[in-house]
Symmetry: C2
Subunit: 158 residues, 2 copies
DNA sequence: TAGCATTATCTGCCTCGGCAGCAATTGCCT
DNA sequence: AGGCAATTGCTGCCGAGGCAGATAATGCTA
């Protein structure tokens, strides 16, 4: 472990990872949300659809991987179910669990909107070389791993 | 400019910068908010105080640099003013403008809570070498710059 | 000076996520 | 089997932020 990166004397908010992450996320999210405007599925809803396509199968699982509230997800799934993009099936193995899966229409809608997201991601990274992109991803994952570990330690204590 | 980083065929949400930024920000924010729990100033409010100490002087300026809603900021300033941490002064040069500045108590409170934030930032970056930290900051800033440029182009058109 | 677009702030309304409590179900332990 | 903690999903409530319209003040143009 190296010495601390920040100290009280020299701290400036513009040099804070937290502040930069906030800005980067807000800008990226706004760009994505703007791209999805006018379509009948919001950006957040589409993210859920993608995660389902990638294998997520229950409500709780979606909440954990998306760092999303269970109450909020229940309501979000209600909407997706109403529009026939998703279906809920009570698990027979464990009747507390609700299995969620894409319908055919849901799968179609997911693919249909995919280009919107891809386009925005590439636009945001237009000035990044392959090497820079790889570095960026690696560092983000490392950062996340550290915090998730700390978070897990915090919640298992209490 | 290099070739596109993402394409429709190979896309996976776990490899999306947007998804990673969302997670990184959420985890960092939760850690910071948890650190400020119990103190009479929320994490968000403290951020405003810091920006004021660093020279921000009007409500509008705070909104722009923090990527924050003007309505939300008005209410947040109301609370800070009530507690005597901040004071509003109608500008004499332009009477539409409200100059905001820290009171002595506000400056004291800002410094008092600084260690909480520093500590969390350093904890999150504990495994980062100096070089990795510098790289991470550089790439985040580059990413932000690209998106801000695009955002500005989008809003000046309409 | 009169008219009009623009800017800065504030207010009300709406949506969405966080949180706490609830009901149903399961698994563990005796 | 019986009791009890833990887990899953759902519901009501609350607070915070986004958005649109209102207000006041300024600057530009004729």
């Amino acid at each position: 472990m190296s010495a601390a990166h920040y100290d009280i004397r020299s701290f400036s908010s513009g040099q804070s990872v937290g502040y930069l992450l906030k800005l980067a996320h807000a800008l990226m999210h706004d760009a994505a949300a703007a791209a999805f405007e006018g379509h009948d599925v919001s950006f957040m809803q589409w993210l859920i659809l993608v995660k389902l396509r990638e294998g997520a199968s229950t409500a709780g699982e979606l909440c954990r991987i998306m760092w999303y509230d269970t109450g909020a997800l229940t309501r979000l799934l209600d909407q997706l179910e109403e529009r026939g993009l998703v279906e809920r099936l009570r698990s027979v193995a464990d009747r507390r669990v609700v299995n969620v899966r894409l319908t055919a229409a849901g799968r179609r809608k997911t693919s249909e909107l995919m280009p919107l997201a891809i386009e925005r991601l590439n636009a945001a990274l237009a000035d990044f070389s392959k090497a820079e992109f790889a570095q960026f991803m690696r560092l983000l994952k490392k950062f996340i791993a550290t915090l998730q570990q700390a978070e897990q330690a915090r919640t298992t204590v209490s």
